[in-house]
């Protein structure tokens, strides 16, 4: 394949990565924005979503689309519930102290991960995609006869990957409408801006925190259900999404939702493109180091405000 079509293929792969990443990172960003805590167990909620998707689709059987559709609803709800309960049980009792929350969520990380290892087992298990047609893509080229449309060999995408991109966009728009147009969204934003004043106005801050923690985990789980037909479910799969989501939230600016979306797009795309052309480990080394440097020299991120 020539450079042009190759780049287009890499960008499409990047767009799929970015779509999953934007959902995971939004979950982390909302939790940080409203509750001011870092949830280290976020990647495990992602993993839990993928594992639940496997259980649901295996239990239902029949056409893969049925199991997938059910998993798309059940897994985020169940994971959200688990997160809300653990918030009530653990985080609330330590008063959302930033340092102790990190230690507590590291504990949750190991509990969720190892419980999955004991029940789900160490194997990677696939979930069948609901539909998976291969769509060949055209490429335009100038030659003697003017602009020509050709169909390069290997330049294609599956219908499922296109669906992932559209699904992520839909969820993002729905989330934006939810936060800006509904009463619950208003309450969340009020809590984010000033939890003390919100409490004085009768907002049940404790319940809002549990809901936000659940919502954040549900978004991660949703991303995982979408990714599991492409990447198999495995009990250690949470580590990469966690680091990537961290990266996105930091670069976007801690607590800034528009920044998170922009950063997810940038990082997902560049990850897709870089890993096609370079060694993935080297790309990861450079990316991780650069993110740490951004945090050192520009702690507010690209879109964040100067104060912490």
């Amino acid at each position: 394949m020539e450079f042009g079509p190759h780049l287009m293929l890499a960008s499409l792969e990047g767009a799929v990565i970015a779509s999953i990443l934007v959902l995971t990172a939004m979950g982390l960003s909302i939790v940080f924005g409203v509750m001011r805590v870092v949830n280290v167990a976020h990647g495990e909620f992602f993993m839990l979503g993928a594992v639940l998707a496997w259980y649901v689709s295996t239990a239902l059987g029949g056409h893969p689309a049925i199991g997938f559709a059910v998993a798309l609803i059940v897994a985020p709800l169940a994971v959200g519930l688990v997160a809300a309960v653990s918030d009530q049980l653990i985080l609330k009792r330590i008063n959302y102290d930033p340092d102790r929350t990190i230690v507590g969520t590291i504990g949750m990380l190991f509990i969720i991960q190892q419980t999955t290892l004991m029940t789900f087992g160490p194997e990677a298990r696939p979930v069948e995609a609901p539909f998976n047609q291969r769509l060949a893509l055209p490429w335009f080229e100038f030659s003697e006869g003017g602009l020509q449309m050709i169909w390069p060999w290997g330049l294609s995408i599956t219908s499922y990957k296109l669906f992932v991109i559209f699904a992520a966009l839909t969820v993002l728009v729905a989330l934006w409408l939810f936060l800006t147009r509904t009463k619950i969204g208003l309450i969340m934003r009020a809590t984010q801006q000033d939890s003390e004043t919100a409490k004085a106005f009768g907002v049940p801050v404790g319940t809002v925190y549990s809901c936000v923690f659940g919502l954040g985990a549900a978004l991660a789980a949703l991303g995982a259900v979408l990714v599991v037909p492409i990447q198999q479910a495995h009990y250690l799969m949470g580590a990469d999404p966690l680091l990537m989501a961290f990266t996105v939230v930091i670069i976007g600016g801690l607590g800034s939702l528009p920044g998170t979306v922009i950063a997810a797009f940038l990082i997902g795309m560049s990850d897709g493109i870089i890993s096609v052309f370079f060694s993935p480990t080297l790309a990861q080394i450079i990316a991780t180091f650069l993110v740490a440097m951004i945090l050192v020299f520009r702690p507010q991120g690209l879109m964040g405000k100067a104060e912490t």
Binding site: D99, V103, G107, I111, I250, S279, I285, T288, A292, T308
Partner: protein
């Protein structure tokens, strides 16, 4: 007895106890204790920064790994003597911690934790990337002939125990002297109220940098010692898990206490040892311990002793 006498008596009592353990306990526990003592040095390293200066690093595995690979690679590829290799290991940890400190100390709080985590992840990936030399996850073994410490064979059970014991004694006594010195008191002042320490005229940034360097160097020494005594160097020791474990030990034993690290490591070691007989998912125990500790006993075992029994505990 004055407080200083009580503290010295406690530390010498612990060392004497460890010495008696060697002659009375069966071989399995003697082996376990040498491992516990080396890991306790690692925990002491983290405790200087986390327990006394109030800076929580989530990336100490990079210093442990720097010491470990500094020693391992220089023996394997440069063929230097063990003593020199040990020096190289400690030096690489010191240099790395100075660099990390200079950069990471520009941030504070949650950002400091994430920055250290990401630097450690970078180091881990670098170890994997140069798999040609480091052998990546698989790691490499130091041959028995390469592990003679100044004519002292550390491959035997007794040699290993006494080298670990000697190193641990030096670290415990040095650590105890450090935290009781005026320097240690200044670190605690920074932990308790950084603004106030600055207002009193202390150069807070310099003390924090020194704390990072001392902490990283001690952790690196533990890494080098681990590689020397147990003859194995691998990328697992650079992974996130090995940054979390010392935090767990320090929290369990008691952050900001001199005896906390040893108690924490020993407790956790035997807890995991006992539970691994029943399940392969032994890290579940670590997770539960972290959650329970942070909820009910954020000050750890020695912290409880200090509030309930003996307020003079250093």
């Amino acid at each position: 007895m004055t407080v200083a006498r009580k503290i010295n008596a406690l530390h010498f009592g612990i060392l004497l106890f460890l010495l008696i353990c060697f002659f009375t306990l069966p071989a399995y526990h003697v082996g376990a204790l040498s491992r516990i003592m080396v890991l306790a040095i690692y925990a002491i390293g983290l405790n200087i920064l986390f327990g006394y200066t109030g800076l929580l690093s989530l990336g100490h595995a990079m210093f442990f790994a720097a010491g470990m690979y500094g020693l391992g690679l220089s023996i394997k590829f440069l063929g230097v003597s063990v003593v020199l290799a040990f020096g190289i290991g400690i030096l690489s940890a010191a240099v790395l911690s100075a660099l990390v400190g200079l950069l990471a100390l520009r941030t504070a709080g949650v950002s400091f934790m994430i920055v250290t985590l990401m630097f450690a992840q970078t180091v881990y990936l670098v170890v994997l990337y140069f798999g040609e030399f480091t052998r990546g996850d698989e790691g490499f073994v130091l041959q028995q002939a390469e592990r003679m410490l100044a004519g002292f064979d550390v491959t035997t059970e007794a040699g290993r125990y006494f080298v670990a014991f000697g190193a641990f004694s030096i670290c415990l006594i040095g650590f105890s002297a450090l935290v009781q010195s005026s320097f240690g008191k200044r670190l605690v002042a920074i932990r308790e109220n950084e603004e106030r320490a600055r207002m009193l005229g202390y150069d807070v940034w310099r003390y924090k940098l020194l704390a990072v360097i001392i902490s990283g160097t001690v952790s690196g020494a533990a890494g080098a010692l681990y590689a020397l005594l147990f003859g194995y160097v691998g990328a697992t020791f650079a992974s996130v898990q090995y940054s979390i474990l010392p935090l767990l030990w320090v929290l369990l034993g008691g952050a900001g206490t001199t005896i906390g690290p040893l108690i924490g490591v020993a407790f956790m070691f035997y807890l995991i040892d006992a539970s691994s007989a029943y399940t392969s998912a032994y890290m579940l125990i670590a997770g539960l311990a972290l959650v329970v500790l942070t909820m009910f006993a954020p000050r750890g075992i020695a912290g409880i002793l200090r509030t309930k029994v003996s307020p003079w505990l250093p």
